[in-house]
């Protein structure tokens, strides 16, 4: 896996955060989330574990996104959009479980909306990325 691609003139990495730092943060985040399989019972105290996940994931997000080539900002937006449609997981739980009818309907609409984002988001991102042609070999 090539974690540090050679920099080229069309790729700008302002204030690039070194990948090791990102990975260290990531490991911390993941270690935290692996342990934190607490029962979902109504928490008496605020669930600080979730806040940790949020804060660390935000830092990772900032670090990773700052390194994204400016060429790819449009596909980046459609990709992150598809990724945040992971809300599908919550919608499935709400739609699928045995709940009153109106809750199932609300969940179903949410599931439809998330699924649309997943399908169209990934497909159009790939369609756009396919168009980015490598520089012509041999010419300047």
């Amino acid at each position: 896996m090539n974690l540090m691609p050679p920099s080229s003139p069309c790729v700008r990495g302002p204030r690039a955060i070194p990948m090791p730092a990102c990975l260290a943060l990531g490991t911390a985040l993941l270690a935290g989330s692996a342990h934190a399989a607490e029962p979902p019972a109504a928490p008496a105290a605020p669930d600080v574990g979730m806040l940790y996940v949020f804060v660390l994931a935000t830092f990772i997000g900032l670090g990773v996104v700052l390194r994204v080539s400016r060429l790819l900002h449009t596909p980046l937006m459609s990709l992150t959009n598809a990724i945040s449609a992971i809300a599908v997981v919550g919608s499935i739980a709400i739609t699928g479980q045995d709940h009153p009818g109106f809750v199932t309907v609300l969940g179903g609409v949410a599931l439809f909306a998330s699924m649309t984002n997943i399908v169209s988001g990934f497909l159009i991102t790939d369609r756009m990325l396919k168009m980015f042609k490598r520089p012509e070999a041999g010419k300047s």
């Binding site: 080229s8 945040s84 992971i86 919550g90 739980a93 739609t95 169209s120």
Partner: protein
């Protein structure tokens, strides 16, 4: 055992999401990013379906099938319509968050008020506020971009607009706070908060004009991500919080880049109502722009050895990118060095021009960012401006009275000669006259971008036989 599998697969999905964004740092590895994202999503969905307690398989199947039925055609839109599609998908993301928040609240309310802890209520209120305002706001933005007839394209402003918007938001926040402390007794306020959030989303976007769309879409992206984070808090789902935070931070960074590229602040974009500034007309002496014919322009281009093309929204509107590619080929055939100067806010969303030019098969090493191309400008023989306006207006550098003063621009005026393709002499979105057009080195080519570039190509290919 099953629980362990679910946990392990969401952990793997979180890792893959991060790697997926990491691979976007270069066009060479970017498609791997999509693959990573898709596999993560598949893992997470399978895990969610395996989770115990799922009984309504029919509903799930129906919703997923409908999602595919709508999602697949949505991915076929022409690339000029990508900003609308993106805004629409932010709307869907916001809607999903809002609906799940609503469902959860009423579920907890009926199952037993002891479920409605303060922490959960904070998350629910944040989720419905962000979700519903993102939903209507993004729908409005998509409508404006698609030029739907009954949505005004121009910024709509009215007296006390900002005060009433802020008042509305304050009322919504107060209702939300009351709900957090009295979730059962004041349950009647819940629909009120939803209605206010829906209304606020519409009112927030009404005063926004086309040139602000890159910033607004990025902001809505951040809101959609944050609403997914809030949903993760409500559902106690770490994967959701992680993915939402990635989306939110991406939206935040893009918003900051867009704001810097316009030299404006968030609040200025959202509450500035840029459209009103057009009253300040350049009075006094009538300036004259020099018009040039396609023949003349082709002769100039023929002898140029360094050409820079500055594309703008006008190129997208005219769908001229494929003609531009033909022009690029013609000029390259003559040995000219041709580059494209990309302003961060050219077009209607971040990176819009790059995608359009990539569609037309222009190699990405020819697309140069503003800061880099400006260094080379004095050595450039001809700058060809295609449907760009404010991003090449030299007034941004020196005219302190200009609404775009301080905005970084592409220094098209510093090249030896400038050719500008423009439909008419009407000022651009901001209603500001562009000094560039009256400079002594500038020649105007009037007409539709596609037609004019096509004519240039015809002239250039016609003369190539005579040499």
């Amino acid at each position: 055992m099953r629980q362990l599998l679910v946990e392990a697969s969401s952990l793997a999905a979180a890792v893959l999401f991060i790697l997926s964004l990491h691979w976007m740092n270069h066009p060479r590895t970017a498609r791997r990013g999509v693959l990573g994202g898709v596999s993560a999503m598949a893992l997470a969905v399978v895990a969610a379906l395996l989770a115990s307690g799922i009984v309504n398989w029919g509903w799930i199947g129906l919703a997923i099938a409908l999602g595919f039925a709508v999602g697949i055609p949505l991915s076929w839109v022409p690339l000029t319509a990508v900003p609308q599609r993106t805004a629409l998908s932010h709307a869907f993301g916001g809607l999903a968050a809002g609906l799940v928040g609503t469902a959860k609240y009423y579920l907890w309310l009926t199952e037993g008020p002891e479920n409605l802890t303060a922490f959960r209520m904070v998350a629910v209120v944040a989720e419905i506020l962000l979700g519903y305002l993102t939903f209507t706001g993004s729908l409005m933005a998509a409508g404006k971009l698609q030029e739907v007839r009954w949505i005004p394209q121009r910024p709509v402003t009215y007296p006390l607009q900002n005060a009433s918007n802020l008042g509305l938001l304050t009322i919504a926040l107060i209702c939300g706070v009351l709900l957090i402390f009295r979730p059962v007794e004041l349950a009647v306020l819940f629909p009120v908060v939803i209605a206010l959030a829906l209304a606020f989303g519409v009112l927030l976007i009404i005063p926004i004009g086309g040139a602000d769309m890159p910033t607004v879409i990025s902001l809505l992206n951040a809101y959609a991500g944050l609403s997914a984070v809030a949903m993760g808090f409500v559902l106690d789902n770490k994967l959701l919080v992680t993915a939402g935070a990635l989306d939110g931070s991406s939206g935040l960074i893009l918003s900051i880049i867009m704001c810097r590229a316009m030299n404006r602040s968030f609040s200025n974009v959202l509450f500035g109502a840029f459209g009103q500034l057009q009253a300040k007309a350049a009075g006094g002496e009538a300036k004259v722009a020099k018009a040039e014919t396609a023949e003349g322009a082709a002769q100039v281009l023929e002898t140029a050895s360094r050409v820079v093309i500055v594309p703008g929204y006008g190129m997208a509107v005219a769908q001229a990118q494929h003609r531009v590619r033909e022009l690029f080929d013609q000029l390259r055939k003559r040995g000219a060095d041709v580059k494209f100067a990309i302003h961060p806010v050219a077009g209607r969303m971040p990176g819009h021009m790059n995608v359009l030019l990539a569609e037309a098969d222009i190699p990405y090493d020819r697309l140069v960012e503003m800061e880099d191309i400006n260094l080379e400008m004095p050595q450039v023989d001809v700058v060809l401006v295609i449907g760009a306006n404010d991003v090449v207006n030299p007034a941004a550098r020196h005219d302190k009275g200009s609404p775009i003063y301080g905005m970084p621009i592409i220094d098209a005026d510093k090249a030896r000669m400038c050719l500008a393709i423009k439909r008419t002499m009407n000022p651009g979105f901001a209603g500001i006259e562009n000094e560039l057009y009256f400079s002594e080195h500038t020649y105007m080519l009037f007409g539709d971008a596609k037609a004019v570039v096509g004519e240039l190509v015809k002239q250039l290919s016609g003369t190539s036989g005579m040499h």
